[in-house]
């Protein structure tokens, strides 16, 4: 199975473990990923917040490149990039004047647009839980996990059309076929604070704090994520949240691809588990998984 791969700006450093584990897992599953040639930043929140047309053209350039690569589908592990690419694609399909303008700006036709799927969506829809279960050599037994989707993988539902926007379950199903137990909790699709970690840190501390607290109350031992932004907020700001709330969380924030890789028999080093600030290693050792 062929698919274009859009890593996103965080892949090279901040979320390198996510990118690496994603590529390894896809390799194991027979998904051939081809990185989008010379891709540019999708614009994230910054672009659409200040200049709508700029935001559209930044994404559109990537979509045109994928067309030139003769690939009809692109996947990305980042929820932000996914949401931007998908929203822009949706808008281009429905607004003829904008489309014409953007075609001129990027000097490329946009009559054909690739299908855009988040990596989680690709695995769930194309391989499916049973297909994913086939490669498990080390079941993740004994782990109680909170699957955290964040706000952008499933919303707006009319654009994204993946899973239930308020009570998503696709990641839960994957974790379950890997042998882990998932908890029922209230904040699985609430916002972590997004891109405000540097510019308005208190917002992230408030919202990520609520997510951490909800996971703790639900009895989770770790939170599993599918977005580098969510991972960074919940992981790097966990200590500050603990200080602010006077509560100890000790909740490792793990990418779902890292857990897939572990279950598929990859050593923890290759999955980059050591790169996480709140280390998952003590928990995994305790459960006999590493």
């Amino acid at each position: 199975m062929n698919c274009a791969y859009y890593p996103g700006c965080s892949a090279h450093a901040l979320a390198r473990e996510y990118d690496r584990s994603a590529r390894l897992v896809c390799q194991r599953l027979g998904i051939h990923l081809t990185e989008v040639q010379d891709w540019n930043c999708c614009g994230a929140t910054a672009a659409h917040s200040l200049d709508h047309e700029l935001a559209v053209s930044l994404c559109a350039r990537n979509l045109a490149i994928i067309n030139r690569m003769s690939l009809d589908r692109v996947t990305t592990p980042c929820a932000g990039c996914f949401n931007r690419l998908k929203s822009v694609s949706f808008e281009l399909k429905n607004a003829a004047t904008l489309k014409a303008k953007i075609e001129q700006a990027i000097d490329a036709p946009l009559d054909r647009l690739p299908e855009i799927v988040h990596l989680l969506q690709l695995l769930v829809q194309d391989i499916g839980p049973e297909g994913l279960a086939k490669h498990v050599v080390k079941p993740l037994r004994g782990l109680k996990l909170a699957a955290y989707y964040g706000c952008l993988i499933t919303r707006p539902h009319k654009v994204v059309a993946f899973d239930d926007p308020e009570q998503p379950s696709s990641m839960d199903r994957i974790l379950e076929v890997l042998g882990a137990q998932t908890v029922k909790w209230s904040h699985k699709a609430e916002c972590c604070g997004g891109g405000f970690a540097a510019s308005e840190t208190s917002i992230v501390l408030d919202l990520s704090g609520q997510v951490l607290e909800a996971a703790r109350q639900a009895g989770a031992e770790a939170i599993v994520v599918a977005c580098p932004m969510c991972q960074a907020n919940l992981d790097t700001r966990q200590e500050a949240v603990e200080k602010g709330r006077g509560t100890r969380y000790n909740l490792p924030i793990v990418y779902f691809t890292q857990l897939l890789g572990l279950a598929y028999g990859y050593p923890s080093g290759r999955m980059g588990l050591r790169r996480l600030i709140v280390s998952p290693l003590p928990l995994l050792k305790k459960k006999g998984l590493i």
């Binding site: 700006c9 965080s10 090279h12 450093a13 901040l14 390198r16 010379d38 891709w39 540019n40 930043c41 614009g43 994230a44 929140t45 910054a46 672009a47 659409h48 917040s49 200040l50 200049d51 709508h52 047309e53 700029l54 053209s57 930044l58 350039r61 949401n83 700006a105 990027i106 000097d107 706000c151 952008l152 919303r155 707006p156 539902h157 009319k158 926007p165 609430e190 916002c191 604070g193 997004g194 891109g195 405000f196 540097a198 510019s199 308005e200 840190t201 917002i203 919202l207 790097t236 200590e239 500050a240 050591r274 790169r275 600030i277």
Partner: protein, 194 residues
């Protein structure tokens, strides 16, 4: 400065030009708003907004562009999409806020949260120059320009040692093509000297 006795707003004199502008440019029909408040109730950051999402819609109906372009809510909206997704009328509030914010930005108005605007500009400056964003240089520049030299220093060191922060950043080869997308954008004229 008005007279020193209270005069209620006379609704017959309120024109609907802003509402029409929103409908024409964004395809968002604010007449569909049920005023139910479901947007505000679930807004991720709603408790910090000076005007809740529902109030923002109402302000458009009051043609109060002055408030709309200077309000704080504009700069602390997270674009989380929860309001749009839950709205029973499907009103695209994130898009509406984007539009108002971009309008304020184009007009050169001062953001109520200059550091939020600065962060966006720094990210986009990186995109404009190399086609991508590298977090470390952006955060360093941000800390420098806001005078918070030691902000998150301890965290930054931890992350650096784990290899999560890199001074290097891959560049887009067709840099010029990406740079060209910024032509005519207020991001280029306002945010370029970052």
């Amino acid at each position: 400065m008005g007279p020193d006795f209270y005069i209620p707003m006379r609704l017959n004199e309120v024109d609907d030009s802003l509402q029409k502008e929103i409908k024409e440019n964004l395809g968002v029909d604010l007449e569909m708003c049920l005023e139910c408040g479901k947007c505000s109730g679930g807004c991720s950051n709603g408790q910090s907004f000076d005007y809740t999402p529902r109030k923002i819609v109402q302000l458009v109906k009051f043609n109060d562009e002055e408030t709309l372009l200077s309000m704080d809510a504009l700069w602390i909206c997270l674009s989380c999409q929860l309001c749009l997704d839950r709205c029973p009328s499907g009103i695209d509030l994130p898009r509406l806020l984007d539009y108002l914010r971009a309008k304020a930005y184009r007009k050169g108005l001062r953001a109520s949260r200059p550091q939020v605007q600065l962060f966006y500009e720094l990210m986009l400056s990186s995109v404009r120059k190399i086609g991508r964003v590298s977090e470390f240089p952006v955060i360093l520049q941000f800390n420098w320009k806001t005078g918070q030299y030691l902000k998150d220093a301890h965290l930054g060191l931890t992350m650096f040692l784990k290899g999560k922060l890199s001074f290097l950043s891959p560049h887009v080869k067709e840099k010029e093509k990406v740079r060209r997308l910024f032509n005519g954008s207020p991001v280029e004229s306002r945010g370029n000297n970052r």
